[in-house]
């Protein structure tokens, strides 16, 4: 399966040139761009690991693409995403988030059901990969 979180997961994977274009769009809007990576793609895993701080005051998307490729050298088998933060009043949140690197194989998620009273079912979603300890999930 393909994890389809993020703004562009239904499009073919981006080239570095395409990533550059989208990052420059964020920078031109005044947003700080950040790189994050994880080996736990659970839909509610909010806090992926940060590859450094958001790049405040960076005017050039090339610097982000450079850092992305540095990150890939270390975490090339992980999910990596680009996130853009908008600090303006009324937002102060993320404005764009898209996956730019993913494992060669994505085994997907296990859905567990616990039947409780009143025909109610409690659901739990677990990435198959997270049976293994952090750091050894995608090789």
């Amino acid at each position: 399966m393909r994890v389809t979180q993020g703004t562009f997961s239904f499009l073919p994977d981006f080239t570095d040139q395409q990533i550059h274009e989208q990052v420059q769009y964020c920078i031109d809007n005044g947003w700080a761009v950040s790189i994050e990576y994880t080996d736990d793609p659970h839909p509610r895993n909010t806090y992926w690991e940060m590859w450094g701080h958001p790049m405040f005051d960076n005017p050039d998307a090339a610097a982000v693409v450079y850092e992305l490729n540095e990150c890939r050298k270390v975490y090339g088998s992980y999910y990596i995403r680009i996130i853009a933060f908008d600090s303006s009043p009324g937002w102060e949140s993320i404005r764009l988030s898209f996956i730019v690197n993913r494992p060669a194989e994505e085994p997907g998620f296990k859905l567990s059901r616990t039947e409780v009273k009143g025909r109610n079912i409690q659901y739990s979603i677990t990435p198959y990969s997270s049976d293994k300890p952090q750091g050894s999930r995608y090789k």
Binding site: M1, Q5, Q22, Y25, L96, F109, I125
Partner: protein, 485 residues
């Protein structure tokens, strides 16, 4: 000012009998509205022979303190303060029988935090008043002090996106069809296919409550099976608007609690449940971290005709105060009423921190929303993937695009329909961000994306000629003109 319009001294004013409203103090052409006044703009159509100023004064009177005759008990009150004041009457640009009447209301006339109280005055008895042929509430200016007495949207656009982990693009939804008759089991199938295929949300329709063919508990259970299955299949947070509309508040709370117990991220209500019920559900939603979707069922009965009723821009303002997170606000290009400029005005009211006067979009007042959360507008009704460039151009990024028929009617099935919509959307946002003239190049951008997405190719082929091109019944009165220099 003609002598007849002047105010009277106290003795003449309070003598028993019937007096023109404009002489009773409801017409004050020199009045300068205070920052704390509520201001209402009415479109009035006086009966033949009725002076428009007297008609405006009558509206001010009947929507505040007046009755049809002079009462001495006024003099036991600070009546000058409590009288609404018509202070400006303008002819409308396009109809000699209609006038715009501006009326200012003292803040103390209103109970804090109650849409019911506000509307009982502003659209109460006055709308049946005989000297008027027709009356329409066009817009309102709500002072910050009053805005701050309302909770506002339970969740708001920013937190909704954070909770859904979805940024940078419109959200995608679909209403389950056929809207009536599916069993709970079959209904959940549509939800599963649509969410798995790429939508963020599916939706109950306004009249899906708890009928013989499908009782509400069954629907909720099957829908949540579908939501969780789709979430596991995609790694995304998914939701389905579980409609909790019911005959009593007790029943609505019961259904909302069950939706919460099942882990739903969103519930839904209909406008027809009434303002107080909406405010109660908004409070419940805030207390329970639930997104609250409002379907504007019924609004067309009083918003659509330009001469009489309440403009939808006013309903949008009341609903932002009342505290809903989603509101259907028009599509521009779809099958339901919606002039592009007027619709832009509605969207601005939902989403801006502050609205500025913009007559060409029907916004008559500056409005400071005082950090109340923003409402996510919903575009639903007769839209399809081939219109994606127009939808993003007119409606922007913070909107839910709902393709019901445009998902479920896809020749390759529901999941394929959903995928077509999602690919079209992502391709268009990508092109916009990359700096392309996506409105002009829209069809090319879609055709390029369809090269690697057969479902999109099929959607574009089957719906390419579908448009709904009818004249609007509610276009703005003012159009921008180019000045010649």
């Amino acid at each position: 000012m003609p002598d007849g319009d002047k105010k009277l001294d106290a003795k003449a004013r309070y003598s028993a009998g019937v007096l023109e409203y404009k002489k009773m103090g409801y017409w004050e052409p020199d009045y300068l509205p205070k920052d704390t006044d509520v201001i209402a703009l009415f479109r009035i159509t006086p009966q033949d022979g009725v002076d428009p100023i007297e008609a405006a004064a009558a509206v001010a009177g009947e929507s505040s303190t007046a009755t049809w005759t002079v009462v001495w008990t006024d003099r036991l009150t600070a009546c000058e303060k409590y009288r609404a004041k018509a202070y400006r009457v303008d002819p409308t640009p396009n109809n000699p029988n209609e006038y715009f009447a501006y009326i200012a209301y003292e803040l103390d006339l209103f109970e804090p935090g109650s849409i019911a109280n506000l509307t009982a005055s502003i659209i109460g008895n006055v709308f049946g008043f005989k000297p008027l042929k027709a009356l329409r509430l066009e817009d309102m200016r709500l002072p910050v002090a009053y805005v701050k007495t309302f909770q506002g949207p339970a969740t708001g656009i920013v937190v909704e996106r954070e909770r859904l982990n979805c940024y940078g693009r419109p959200l995608l939804g679909a209403t389950v069809k056929p809207k009536l008759g599916l069993s709970g089991r079959n209904y959940g199938r549509v939800v599963y296919e649509a969410l798995k295929g790429g939508l963020d949300f599916t939706k109950d329709d306004e009249n899906i409550n708890s009928q013989p063919f499908m009782h509400w508990r069954d629907r909720f259970l099957y829908c949540m099976e579908a939501v969780n299955r789709a979430s596991a299949a995609t790694g995304e947070v998914k939701g389905t608007y579980l409609n909790v509309t019911a005959g009593t508040m007790e029943e609505m709370y019961k259904r909302a609690e069950f939706a919460k117990e099942l882990g739903s991220v969103i519930i839904m209500i209909d406008l027809v449940i009434g303002y107080t019920a909406i405010q109660s559900m908004a409070k419940w939603a805030r207390d329970n971290d639930m997104i609250l979707h409002l379907h504007r069922a019924g609004h067309g009965t009083y918003t659509r005709q330009k001469s009489h009723g309440v403009s939808f821009r006013v309903i949008a303002k009341w609903m932002r105060l009342a505290g809903v997170d989603h509101i259907h606000a028009g599509t521009v290009v779809g099958k339901l009423e919606g002039d592009p400029a007027t619709t832009k005005g509605y969207y601005d009211i939902c989403r801006e921190e502050q609205n500025s006067v913009s007559l060409e979009t029907g916004v008559f007042f500056d409005q400071d929303w005082a950090s109340l959360n923003k409402v996510m507008p919903v575009a639903s009704g007769g839209i399809h993937a081939g219109q994606m460039h127009q939808l993003i151009h007119y409606l922007g990024e913070d909107v839910v695009l709902q393709f019901g028929g445009g998902t479920i009617g896809h020749p390759q099935g529901i999941a394929a329909g959903a995928t077509a919509n999602r690919v079209a959307l992502e391709a268009m946002v990508y092109a916009r961000n990359a700096g392309r003239d996506y409105l002009a190049e829209g069809p090319t951008i879609l055709a390029e994306a369809a090269k690697t997405c057969t479902p999109l190719r099929e959607a574009l082929d089957i719906w390419k000629d579908v448009t709904f091109d009818y004249a609007s019944t509610d276009a703005p009165d003012f159009v921008p003109t180019t000045s010649v220099s």
